[in-house]
C-alpha cells in the first residue's frame, strides 16, 4: 500500500508542480474559466428577461454552475495533455519501468487533476461571490454541487488520460478536448432546457451533461431536481472512463511506453 502511495504522490506532485509553475500551462487553465464566466454572466445577463426564464438566484449563478463543471472537465483534460507530453518525451517510459505499481501512475495523474481543479474552483467561486452571485442552497447543497463537479473532473481526466495512453502524443490533444467541448456545449448552457428550440433541444434532452447541469443549478437554488439520477450518471461515466483509462495503461505497457 505504501509503495502504491509513493507512486501516486510522486506522480501527482511532479504533475502539479509542472502545471502550476509553468505560465504556459497555468494561464489557460486559470484564465479560460474566468473568460467564459465573465463573458456569459456579464454579456448575456439580459437573458433572464426572456419570458419563461425562471431561476431565482439569477443569471450569474446560472452561469457559475456551467463554468464550474466546465472547469472541472477541462482541468482533467489539460492533465491528460501532460500525460501525452510525458509519453512523447520518454518520461512515461521511465516511469513505467520504475513504478512498482503502475496503476499508481494513473491515480497520481488523476490526483493532480483534482488538485489543479480545486485551485481553479476556489478562484472561480471567489470571483463569482465578488460579482454578486446569490446562493439559495445550504451547505449540503453546496457539498452536492462540488461533489458533482469533482466527479466531472475525474471523468474529464480519465477520458483524456485514456486517449493520451493510447496515442502517446500531444497530437491527440484535439481528440481529448473537442468531444468534451461539444458535449458540454450541447447542453442548456445559456438558457434552461425548456427554452431551447430546434435540434439543440433534441440533443440537449438526451445529453447526460444536461442532467448534471440541471442538478448543479438546482443545488445553488436550493431545490435540486433528480439528484440521485445525476450522481448515478456521473458515477457511471466515471467508472466507464476509469476502465477506459486503465485499458489505455495496458495498451501503453504492451507498446512499451
Amino acid at each position: 500500500m505504501s509503495a502504491m502511495w509513493n507512486v501516486v504522490s510522486g506522480v501527482a506532485w511532479r504533475t502539479l508542480k509542472n502545471a502550476l509553475t509553468n505560465p504556459q500551462i497555468v494561464l489557460p487553465t486559470m484564465l479560460f474559466p474566468l473568460f467564459f464566466f465573465t463573458a456569459f454572466a456579464g454579456g448575456l445577463s439580459q437573458l433572464r428577461e426572456i419570458p419563461g426564464f425562471d431561476y431565482p438566484p439569477g443569471y450569474t449563478a446560472f452561469q457559475f454552475v456551467f463554468v464550474l463543471l466546465q472547469s472541472a472537465a477541462f482541468s482533467g483534460v489539460f492533465t491528460g495533455f501532460g500525460v501525452a507530453r510525458d509519453f512523447e518525451s520518454g518520461f512515461a517510459k521511465r516511469l513505467l519501468l520504475a513504478a512498482p505499481h503502475r496503476s499508481g501512475i494513473v491515480l497520481g495523474y488523476g490526483l493532480a487533476a483534482l488538485f489543479r481543479w480545486v485551485v481553479v474552483a476556489v478562484m472561480l467561486t471567489v470571483v463569482a461571490l465578488v460579482a454578486g452571485m446569490e446562493i439559495g442552497g445550504g451547505a449540503v447543497d453546496l457539498v452536492g454541487l462540488y461533489g458533482l463537479a469533482l466527479l466531472v473532473n475525474f471523468c474529464g481526466f480519465f477520458w483524456a488520460g485514456g486517449i493520451a495512453m493510447r496515442f502517446r502524443t500531444l497530437q491527440a490533444a484535439p481528440l481529448m478536448q473537442m468531444p468534451v467541448f461539444l458535449v458540454l456545449f450541447f447542453a442548456p448552457v445559456y438558457v434552461p432546457l425548456e427554452l431551447l428550440e430546434g435540434w439543440i433541444e433534441a440533443v440537449a434532452s438526451v445529453n447526460p451533461v444536461t442532467y448534471l447541469l440541471e442538478t448543479g443549478r438546482g443545488f445553488v437554488a436550493g431545490d435540486a431536481p433528480h439528484v440521485l439520477g445525476a450522481f448515478a450518471i456521473a458515477i457511471g461515466m466515471g467508472v466507464a472512463f476509469w476502465t477506459w483509462a486503465f485499458l489505455g495503461l495496458r495498451k501503453a505497457e504492451i507498446a512499451g511506453g
Binding site: G43, L44, S45, Q46, Q171, Y190
Partner: protein, 258 residues
C-alpha cells in the same frame, strides 16, 4: 522596386505553403470558430425574443464573430511561424541576402491575407448554406471580403510584430488568452444596448473588437449602416497601420547587417 516583387511572391508562397502543410494551423482557425458559432446560434436563439434584438435569427447575428475570431487565430499562426524563423536562424540567413526587409514583411503578410480570404469564403459559404440572408446584398458580400482581408492584414501584422519583437513562438502562444479577452469582452453575443451589466457594457464599448464585429454584423443583419462601417474600418485600419509600423521597425532591428 520592381526587382523586389519576385521576393515578395516567393515569401508569400512560402508562407502559404508552410501553413497549408500544417493541418494544425489550418483546421482550428476554420473549425473552431464555426463550432462555437453553431453551438451559440442554437443555444442563444431564444435571446432574439428580447425586445430590441436586431434580428430574428441568432445565426445571422453570430455569423460576424468567426470573421474576427478566425483573424485572431491567424495572428497566432503568422506570429508563431515568423518566430520560428527567428529561432531557427532563417531571418539571420536572409539578412545575408539581397532581400529587402519590406519585401519579407509584405510577403509574409500576403500569405496571411490569402489565408484570411479563404477562411472568410468558408465562413460565408457556411452562413449562406445555413440560410443566412445578407441585408446589404451582393455588394455587401464584396465589402465583407475586403474587410476580412484588411482584418487579416492588421492582425497578421500584429502577430508579426510580436514575433519579431520577442523571437519566441512560446511567447506568441502565451498571448492567445490576452487576445481572447478582447473577443469575449465585446458585443460578440449580444448587442451593446442589450448588455445588462454596466461594467461589461462599458468594457465592450471601449473594446475596438466590438466595432469590428458590429461592422461585419451590420452588413449581414442591418444593410448599409454608415456609422458601423466607418467605425469598423477606422479601427482596423488604425490597428493595421500601427502594427505594420511596429513590425517594420522590429524587422529592421532583426535584419541589421553586422
Amino acid at each position: 522596386m520592381s526587382s523586389s516583387w519576385p521576393q515578395v511572391g516567393a515569401i508569400a508562397r512560402r508562407s502559404l505553403v508552410r501553413t497549408a502543410r500544417q493541418p494544425a494551423s489550418v483546421i482550428p482557425p476554420i473549425v473552431f470558430p464555426l463550432a462555437l458559432m453553431t453551438v451559440n446560434a442554437a443555444g442563444l436563439q431564444s435571446s432574439t425574443d428580447l425586445p430590441g434584438f436586431p434580428t430574428e435569427s441568432f445565426l445571422a447575428f453570430a455569423l460576424a464573430v468567426p470573421f474576427i475570431q478566425g483573424a485572431l487565430f491567424s495572428t497566432m499562426n503568422a506570429g508563431t511561424d515568423l518566430a520560428r524563423d527567428v529561432q531557427t536562424g532563417f531571418i539571420n540567413r536572409l539578412a545575408l541576402t539581397a532581400l529587402r526587409d519590406w519585401a519579407l514583411l509584405s510577403g509574409q503578410l500576403a500569405g496571411v491575407v490569402a489565408l484570411g480570404i479563404v477562411q472568410a469564403l468558408i465562413y460565408l459559404a457556411v452562413g449562406l448554406a445555413a440560410g443566412v440572408e445578407f441585408e446589404s446584398g451582393p455588394a455587401g458580400v464584396l465589402v465583407l471580403l475586403v474587410y476580412a482581408a484588411i482584418v487579416s492584414l492588421a492582425f497578421g501584422a500584429l502577430g508579426a510584430y510580436l514575433a519579431l519583437r520577442t523571437g519566441s513562438g512560446e511567447t506568441i502562444q502565451a498571448m492567445f488568452p490576452v487576445l481572447f479577452v478582447f473577443l469575449f469582452i465585446s458585443s460578440m453575443n449580444a448587442p451593446r444596448d442589450l448588455i445588462g451589466v454596466d461594467w461589461f457594457r462599458t468594457a465592450a464599448t471601449l473594446n475596438p473588437v466590438s466595432y469590428m464585429i458590429e461592422c461585419v454584423r451590420s452588413l449581414i443583419v442591418e444593410g448599409w449602416d454608415a456609422q458601423a462601417l466607418v467605425l469598423g474600418f477606422v479601427f482596423v485600419v488604425v490597428l493595421g497601420i500601427v502594427s505594420i509600423a511596429l513590425a517594420s521597425r522590429a524587422l529592421r532591428t532583426r535584419m541589421t547587417r553586422t
